[in-house]
């Protein structure tokens, strides 16, 4: 269990956080400049906090009251940075072994073959980093962190420099690490799809403050209030029913009707979760025709919340699945939206990012 209670000033920016981070993957989510990276660097010991404490399982890493500050190299962490930061003068094998060599034999938990296998690195072991692709480099960086047998894994937007194809290749690896390695993971991201897919718990940061902490379903659909800078969305559970090869589509049955998704490589019968960004949903008061959006869900308005500025958040119950939709106040008035009114929610197949569709874990 990681205990954080700190206050830190950096330039004109101040960060305040009181958090407890346990098993599983905790996502630090928020817009850029919200203090995510600063927080993770404080935990890593790369930055010394001005005030407060950081403890892992009772061991004090940082305590400003007692002048305690354990340097990064004595914290037994693994840190995967935004850039791979591989050592250019070493082979992949040497990079992987770097942290392990520094551990006493009895504390080594990982083995090179296991990690190489887990992250598909075996064919790359004798290469040098400059001969690897971006995705391969980031997998090596991940493996290198794990080989140090860390007690806590920190990841700072490890996928943000990769294109979506490569992201899709690495996401399952991170899921496997989350489920198999069994150490707490702190994962910084501003991608809602990544968070939706990976996180077991979400901490939302905004301007240096934690504004929400909780399960991904609850937190992600509640974020848009206020600043509106965060792309939030809804989860829909569904079961794959068919693949329409000719159209390149996969059909899935949700509690409220069929969904048409981009083709995925999962067999019919697979239970999936689909993440639909709030901003991509269109609300209609009547059944519409002559519209290209393939996905249409019927439901009933259960709540309308005023937001700052011109927007209104409408909560629609679609056969038991609460969906949040954002509309302008003007359209809310024009359409006469009110609690209890039946509505239709429309969204395009392409609105669902490929990393926003995944097997239910």
């Amino acid at each position: 269990m990681l205990d954080i209670a700190i206050r830190h000033q950096q330039g004109g920016f101040s960060l305040e956080a009181v958090l407890q981070i346990g098993e599983g993957l905790t996502a630090l989510f928020g817009p850029s400049g919200s203090g995510k990276t600063t927080l993770i660097n404080l935990v890593a010991g790369l930055v010394r906090p001005e005030q407060g404490q950081i403890r892992l399982s009772g061991e004090t890493w940082s305590d400003s009251d007692h002048g305690v500050f354990l340097p990064a190299h004595r914290r037994r962490i693994g840190y995967v940075f935004q850039e791979p930061r591989l050592f250019p003068h070493m082979t992949v094998r040497q990079n992987l072994a770097y942290g392990e060599r520094l551990l006493p034999r009895t504390e080594r938990r990982e083995s090179l073959p296991r990690i190489a296998d887990l992250l598909h690195l075996s064919p790359l072991l004798d290469r040098r980093p400059q001969h690897l692709s971006g995705g391969e480099k980031q997998r090596v960086a991940l493996g290198r962190a794990l080989m140090a047998s860390p007690r806590l894994l920190l990841m700072d937007e490890p996928l943000s420099a990769l294109d979506s194809e490569l992201k899709l290749q690495i996401l399952p690896d991170i899921e496997r690490i989350r489920d198999e390695v069994g150490i707490p993971i702190l994962y910084v991201s501003h991608s809602v799809e990544e968070v939706a897919r990976l996180a077991t718990r979400v901490v939302v940061l905004e301007r240096g403050k934690t504004i929400a902490i909780g399960a991904p379903d609850a937190v992600l659909s509640n974020v848009p209030r206020g600043a509106g800078a965060l792309p939030a969305g809804n989860f829909i559970s569904a079961t794959i029913t068919a693949h329409h090869q000719a159209d390149g589509l996969t059909e899935a049955q949700s509690g409220t009707g069929p969904l048409f998704l981009r083709a995925v490589d999962l067999p019919p019968g697979t239970e999936i979760r689909v993440f639909v960004p709030v901003a991509d949903i269109v609300l209609a008061t009547a059944e519409v025709s002559g519209l290209s959006a393939l996905n249409r869900l019927a439901g009933q308005i259960t709540d309308i919340q005023r937001e700052n500025g011109s927007a209104v958040a409408v909560v629609v119950d679609c056969s038991g699945e609460p969906m949040v939709v954002e509309v302008t106040r003007r359209s809310a008035t024009q359409l006469g939206l009110a609690i209890g009114k039946p509505v239709h929610l429309l969204f395009k197949t392409v609105s669902i990012a490929r990393e926003g569709l995944f097997r239910r874990g």
């Binding site: 840190y79 930061r85 942290g99 520094l102 040098r128 400059q130």
Partner: protein
């Protein structure tokens, strides 16, 4: 002139560890008096060599404070010995050595050092396994420059340890001597050719080594 090679080699060998340490201090640490240290290191490059030689003479000479101490403690005498020539060469080559190493250390990505520390590497280990290997081309270039300076050093050497054949007469001072005696042109020319050959060999060797290093790191 084997003596010249010996003097230059000893000069570089002894100033290298100090040079690396000073370069690291200048590149990675902030401390009070950093500008002063930087200036001090570079002083021999800017001052007339004769001044450096004279300063060496009054500090490391037999009557100089440091010179006396060294003699009574270790029996080490610099003045008018080849060791003194090496000291003069080391001091004169030091700025070049430090400058080159420091520049290459500045170029080493500190984010790599941070990554190493998160993997459990204490600072000294980070330096030996990450900083130094990545700065190696600069270290090498610094050694070549220092060596070249040591071979050619004249002003400080002749002031500090004079020009004693077989003891302190280096290549440069030997050439100077021959040009001063009638009929010494042939001998002077021979030594000149030798010094050109040595310089070329050093340059080529460093070039080859640097290229090998670069290939090993794939210009990463």
């Amino acid at each position: 002139m084997l003596l010249s090679l010996k003097v230059a080699a000893v000069a570089v060998a002894f100033s290298l560890p100090v040079g690396i340490a000073v370069a690291w201090l200048l590149s990675r640490r902030e401390f009070w008096g950093k500008t002063l240290l930087n200036g001090l290191v570079h002083l021999p490059l800017i001052m007339p060599p004769v001044v450096t030689g004279y300063l060496l003479l009054i500090t490391f000479g037999r009557k100089g404070s440091v010179g006396m101490l060294l003699e009574s403690w270790f029996g080490l005498v610099f003045s008018f010995r080849w060791t003194g020539a090496a000291l003069a060469a080391a001091v004169m080559g030091f700025p070049l050595l430090v400058r080159s190493i420091r520049l290459s250390m500045d170029a080493v990505d500190r984010r790599l050092e941070a990554a190493a520390s998160t993997l459990g590497a204490p600072p000294a280990y980070v330096f030996l396994t990450v900083t130094l290997p990545l700065a190696l081309p600069g270290v090498l270039a610094g050694m070549v420059l220092g060596f070249a300076k040591a071979i050619g050093e004249f002003g400080a050497t002749i002031t500090f340890v004079s020009n004693i054949p077989g003891e302190t007469q280096t290549l440069a001072s030997a050439i100077y001597t021959y040009t001063q005696v009638p009929g010494g042109d042939v001998a002077a020319m021979r030594l000149t050719l030798i010094s050109i050959a040595i310089s070329f060999a050093a340059l080529i060797a460093s070039e080859v080594l640097a290229r090998r290093l670069a290939a090993r790191m794939g210009e990463g």
